[in-house]
Amino acid sequence: MIGRFSFGVVLVANRGEIAVRIIRTVQKLGLQSAVVYHEVDARSLAVTLADHAIKISGKTPVSSYLDADQIIAAALSVGAGAIHPGYGFLSENAGFARAVGAAGLVFVGPSASAIELMGDKIRARNFVARSGFPVAPSAIEEDDPGTFLDRARAVGAPLLVKPSAGGGGKGMRIVRDLAELDDAVAQARGEGQRYFGDGRLYAERFVERPRHIEVQVLGDSFGNVVHLHERECSVQRRFQKIIEETPSPALSTDLRKSICETAAGIARAAGYKNAGTVEFIYGRGEFYFLEMNTRLQVEHPVTEMTTGLDLVEQQLAVSAGHPLAFKQDDVRPSGHAIEARLYAEAPERDFAPTTGKVLALEYPKGDGVRVDSGIAQGQLVTTAFDPMLAKIIVHAPTRTEAIARASQAIEDFVLLGCETNAAFLGRILRDEGFKAGEVHTGYLDEHPRIAKGAAPDEGIQRRLLAAAALLTRPVRDAAHAVPALHASLGSWRN
């Protein structure tokens, strides 16, 4: 039960499916929604739904959504009292959070200082370690360059060497045999210099077959912090998540409790306000803090499905100054939820991006099926933005039933006109390893056949060709043109 809000209009500084999702909650709460959009998104679903739509521009479409000044000006122009940044773009930009506050608007998210703290990976890591929470053993070169190699050796193999200025996996090297450490360090340094202009490194314990476990946390401005349990996001490729679920099939009850309380503890220690996610690396009974994302995450719906909470609603309530309406013990998730991300890419062709136009679109329906989508029929799919098209989220009493429901939902999802990774998602869900809950972040790389798939079998090909032949004018016309006598004689020769 939410009381009155201090703002009547919320501007969504984002696009695509998350903009749609946020607008829906804003409208559900009886507030007005506003959205900024670049020309290429002029006909998008978010623009259609929002009460106000303000056009913005930039050298590239992406750059317009990164233009803090335009966004704030847009918010002011429609009398918005709050700005929700969604995820990506400016959501973890402390400067933007500050500017929003300076403009007299409410930033729906944590404080700028929390963003800054957790945005600097090394600073965040140090803070968490100092606060007494588990981080992966590591050696930071900057602490003492002279002893770096020794300290790295002391961490022990397997070891991950990476540029401290880096991200996105560039320059990272796994060292399994300490004899290779010197070479790995030299190479990583060279790449760090080349890609980031900074050759400084850090080395940390590498967890073999690591699983990515993250915990949703929520804090209010009164110091209350709860966790909303974990999500497992181990099915990924090149650090891009593909399938997420809750609860994690890897954790025992005790471990689950331990990881979740650790996350809440970290958020509490940081005085965290609003929604956030603490990410851990888990393997062989050990877990280490990886990083904290100070925003709403893409995969938040799985948490909503099992807890029954609307996280955007919680964010708006916290931002409006309300205390959390429930305690930790009130959070009792049930059942199992899985989210699959539909991307405009072709896993069968080495994940090459695809483009096209949404010619036909039909979402799966039914109990326990939810689709978060930002696309609409007739929309062009281009490479201007991130290729995620929609999220298919299912909920069922057990994991087995959830997997079956997700498979069915993906099959029932009709999108014609742009190639997607739907078949790949189906293959993952049918994979024995996945069904046994035995995935880790390198699983897809270890099993390239899942991505490759197989060419459609002869029976399917025949059906496709039959349909296409009957629906293609030149083919049908050619069939009709042959006189009946000759058609009946077939390939007769004398």
């Binding site: 050619a478 009709h480 043109a481 042959v482 006189p483 006598l485 000759h486 058609a487 009946s488 004689l489 077939g490 390939s491 007769w492 020769r493 004398n494």
Partner: protein
């Protein structure tokens, strides 16, 4: 229409012996056709590959609509000429379906002597274009010829129906509004250059096709000018500078795709209205023809049994069944089309000649095409018959055959001798299509008879000089004549000389007639009118 009731017993010895014999003849035919169509010295195949050219049969398969029939004409042209070195006379012609339309395909076979035109090659091309004219069929030329075979020029150059007739026919087709497309896949030199030039549309394949009245060597010899094939007459020059070529293609398949697209533009002609109903297969198995045709060509058989294995439902409406019984006349359907059949059960008498002439007029008035099934040794001779006017009755039959406006089709089933050949619509009487069965014979009289006559003449000559010959010496005169006659009256000789449009396996006759009929109906049918019947 009632079904023919067959009296054939498929289990009797005669039937089985005939069956064995005729199946052997049929498989011999298939084998000889296969060799003529496909067997080539490896060096000729290799040369085509080096020149980046497709084999003619592959070109034709790519040209035709898949899953459609191709009625090839005169496959064995030239099989008994030029020492057998020019199979098919280096030409492939036939009726096929391109983009849904019935067309005449005319293709040079460059794997045989470079596709050079021998006298029989020219005859085969002229015949194909005559068929196109008579039946108003569009033509697709696949040109790839080395030009005329000069050592034999006297036999293909100057006369009325020699090479010039090809270009005359092309011009007449164009005048008639019947379109032609030429695909230039080799050098079209000198006379050959006129085939694409006289076609309504032409396509030249870049790199291998060329059109010029004189090639580079001739040009150099004539004027000293040095010029390459492409510059002189290649695709790019003709399609962008001279305008002699309409389309430039980057490959043979591309050219064929363009040709198909052009044929798709042709206006679909109105077919002549001939009675037609849904087809049905014969009630008797057509393969029984093998058992019915006697292995000895001198043995008579009932043509009704042949008809029963060729027509829809084996249904036959016989006309004047009790009169002139040596000529069977009646109505039937082939692939749904109603036709009038004339078939021989013996020599032609007065009554059968009159019956035939009458029946032809009935069919003509009824707009019913005619099918002649020949097994004829001739007209009856003798005093009684002459007094009854057999000559003028034969003349009436010939007048009717010659004058009929409906399309005529002739199949030489067995013997075809003397004036009987004429009365039963032989080659000279313009059947739209004429086919032979493997064992058939065509000559002025039977070989034995002819050999007998000639030997008698010789013996009498010698007798006047007082000479008497022994059996052996008589045989020495008789046998070579017999040999020669047999050879020259065989179906293989006739087809070699293109006296017919091809030898058919008897069981293929039904389909060949169906396809021919359908093609023939592309031309309108004139009203009936005849010369004077000597009454």
């Amino acid at each position: 229409m009632q079904r023919v009731s067959s009296l054939i017993d498929t289990r009797d010895d005669d039937y089985r012996a005939n069956d064995l014999h005729n199946r052997r003849l049929a498989s011999e035919l298939k084998e000889r056709q296969k060799v003529a169509r496909h067997v080539r010295p490896e060096r000729d195949r290799e040369r085509l590959r080096r020149q980046n050219k497709m084999f003619v049969r592959d070109r034709i398969e790519a040209l035709l609509d898949p899953g459609t029939p191709f009625l090839e004409l005169s496959t064995l042209a030239g099989n008994m000429a030029y020492d057998g070195e020019v199979p098919g006379a280096a030409q492939v012609t036939g009726i096929g379906i391109v983009s849904g339309k019935e067309v005449i395909v005319h293709a040079d076979d460059a794997s045989v002597k470079g596709g050079a035109w021998y006298p029989l090659s020219v005859k085969k091309i002229v015949r194909a274009l005559d068929i196109a004219i008579e039946n108003h069929l569009p033509v697709v030329h696949l040109c790839d010829s080395a030009g005329g075979f000069l050592p034999l020029q006297a036999e293909f150059f100057a006369d009325r129906y020699f090479a010039g007739r090809i270009f005359r026919n092309q011009s007449i087709l164009s005048k008639m509004g019947v379109p032609q497309v030429a695909v230039v896949m080799g050098h079209c030199t000198a006379g050959g250059a006129y085939i694409p030039a006289l076609s309504d549309y032409n396509i030249i394949v870049r790199g291998t096709g060329a059109i010029f009245l004189g090639g580079p060597p001739l040009v150099k010899a004539a004027t000293g000018e040095e010029v390459t094939v492409e510059e002189l007459g290649g695709a790019d020059m003709h399609t962008s500078v001279s305008g002699t070529g309409d389309y430039a293609a980057s490959s043979e398949l591309h050219a064929i795709a363009i040709a198909r697209d052009i044929v798709e533009r042709f206006r679909r002609p109105e077919k002549a209205g001939v009675d037609w109903i849904e087809p049905e297969p014969p009630a008797y198995d057509p393969e029984q023809l093998y058992g019915i045709i006697p292995r000895d060509p001198r043995v008579q058989f009932d043509m009704r049994e042949v008809i029963a294995r060729m027509v829809d439902g084996s249904r036959f409406h016989e006309y004047q069944p009790r009169y002139g019984q040596s000529l069977i006349c009646g109505f039937a359907r082939v692939h749904g089309y109603q036709i009038g059949i004339l078939a021989n059960n013996g020599v032609l008498f007065n009554d059968s000649s009159l019956k035939g002439a009458h029946f032809i007029q009935l069919c003509d008035k009824n707009r019913t095409p005619l099918l002649f099934l020949q097994n004829i040794t001739g007209f009856m001779v003798g005093r009684e018959y002459e007094r009854r006017g057999i000559t003028k009755d034969g003349a009436k039959l010939i007048m009717a055959v010659a004058g009929a406006s409906v399309p005529k089709f002739t199949v030489v089933c067995n013997g075809s001798y003397g004036a009987g050949t004429y009365g039963m619509s032989g080659r000279a009487f313009d059947p739209r299509f004429m086919f032979s069965w493997p064992q058939s014979q065509v000559s002025v009289m039977g070989a034995e008879q002819a050999a007998g006559v000639l030997t008698d003449v010789k013996l009498r000559q010698l007798a006047r000089s007082g000479l008497q010959l022994s059996e052996q010496e008589t045989a020495a005169i008789r046998d070579p004549v017999l040999e020669d006659y047999r050879r020259q009256s065989s179906a293989y000789y006739a087809t070699s000389e293109i006296w017919d449009d091809g030898i058919l396996d008897p069981v293929d006759t039904r389909n060949a007639i169906g396809i021919s009929l359908s093609a023939a109906l592309n031309a309108p049918i004139a009203s009936p009118h005849y010369g004077v019947f000597r009454m």
